[in-house]
Amino acid sequence: MNIIVCIKQVPDTTEVRIDPETNTLIRSGVECIINPFDMYAIEEGIRLKEKFGGKVSVVTMGPPQAEDALREAISLGADEAVLISDRAFAGSDTWATSYTLSKAVQKAGDYDLVICGKQAIDGDTAQVGPGISAHLDIPQVTYVKKIEEVDAEKRHMRVERMTEEGYEIIESPLPCLITVVKEINEPRLPSLKGKMRAKKAEIKKWGAKDLNVDPDLIGLNGSPTKVLKIFTPQPRGKGQILEGDAKEVSEKLVELLRSEVL
């Protein structure tokens, strides 16, 4: 089974802090990590490979330093890695990103399954996964929380898709694209041998020319949305600390909430 996992390198938001004086993001020294949801995607890809054979290729689009994310994926057990990087891709929104990634998936060769995390924690859009499947014109199942069965011969799979109320059981032919949620697995840690392999592994680097993309559909040109402005949200007003023993604070709080919202 050939699996392509699309990942993104994101700033570790646990490290992101607001400068209280300027009220802007402090980005220096913020570590970059693999988007947490993509870790589940990588893990699921590796598990499928371990069960059915084949290979796992990891693709990311980003600046040159996104190579670190790819090496980490290899240390976890991915076989191949491709970095999609080109100045021409700068300024891509989710439309242009999913177009570019879909071209990379096509170039990466025969695949049975594309796996993405449900969304990235920096943009939170959840659009790129479905976007790639739309460009590739393959079926998609989003928010997958369990792969119940894969029939590699008949080329279809049955999965559980998380909804607000519970889940749906969906059958899809292969190739298809799934986006996965946290519930699907617990990602492993890298192994030492994996880390050694990752250090030496060759990372393929593809630019706009390699992907044969339409220049009007990539980067800023290919992005229908533009950022008009960025601002820091109104900070929440300084709260009020209620004092007193358990009984007193409870009475105060009930009064406050009653008048405000109950």
Binding site: T13, T22, G91, P130, A134, E165, L228, T232, V254
Partner: protein
Amino acid sequence: MSIRVINEKCTGCKLCIKACPFAAIDVVKKKAVIAMDKCNLCGACIESCKFDAIVLTKISPSEIDFAKKIEQHKGVWVFCEQKNGVVQSVGYELLGKGRELADTLGVDLCGVLLGENIKAEAQKVIHRGANKVYIVDSPKLKHYQSEPYSKVLIKLIKEHKPEIVLCGATSIGRSLISRVAISIHAGLTADCTGLDIDKKERLLLQTRPAFGGNIMATIICPNHRPQMATVRHKVMKEAEVNNHHRGKIIESSFDDDTYSSRTNLLDVVEEIEETVNLTEADIIVSGGRGLQNPENFQLIEELAKVLGGAVGASRAAVDAGWKTYSHQVGQTGKTVCPKIYIACGISGQIQHLVGMQSSDVIVAINKDQHAPIFNVATYGIVGNLFEIVPELTKRFREVLKK
């Protein structure tokens, strides 16, 4: 769009470096240099520059050509998601906002409803303010499946050319609308918390949080139509019901190929939860590591029950196995915005805060007065939750007479 530094005006003062949220600017030889691979053209640097040394060209001539076609697109659409034949409340919320936008633009507000036997529901959409409802009624559309739903919606959009399409940021909406936007090369902005119209340009101003709510961005879609946006449940206020409101129901049907799906829905499983759906709840009581063991979650559940609210949990509590993942609030869990959020024994790691900081009122109960949760709390109580929570439950029970 493009951005450039006018070197003659630039003094190398570095104010723009501080202003740039993307760390895209550097000063080299006393002149600002913008790294285009990092720049998002947000314009924050332009506002910061005291010397008018940075200029942003908004629309290039070739883009203006393209923009002309935009004139053909009219009307505000709301995709009204249905489950089990019932339009979900997020649809009514979007109709409320959609009405405002349509009135500002002087155009029709239209609902789009896909499903089986949904005519009666279409009437309800009209009573919530829609001028028209496009319905497609077929057994094949009874339950959401990405392919038939996206194919139908694409055909409707291509035929009727709306200028704005709004959709709930639900598990259905997010999956559907991304696929649609790709196919028609439309701009799509996820999880908007604010929608407004730039009257002069007739542009939809879409404001959304990024980086876990640490910054806000206003997004526009100048040259593509329709302008598409998703909005989370509970962010907008529901449109009022007006049974006298009149509107047209326009029914369309398509060939079997349009309804065909490669994926096949085999079963729908509803999981019985002891309390209401987190994202639907007006009141959420959440517990964290401070509860010390799973049995103590009972305190949280009792308070939630008295308040008619839902039970949430921090990642620490979920990872420890005290609550299932469906209760998890925060970055890798659910994002919630209830009217009241009561955090008990939750220290308030940033991953948790991003999932709940847009709640109307936040109450924090924690023994550590320095816990970061107090930074976002409307009301904070420093103390022992094992004493305070039962007392609160008792007090609310008296007041609410439950």
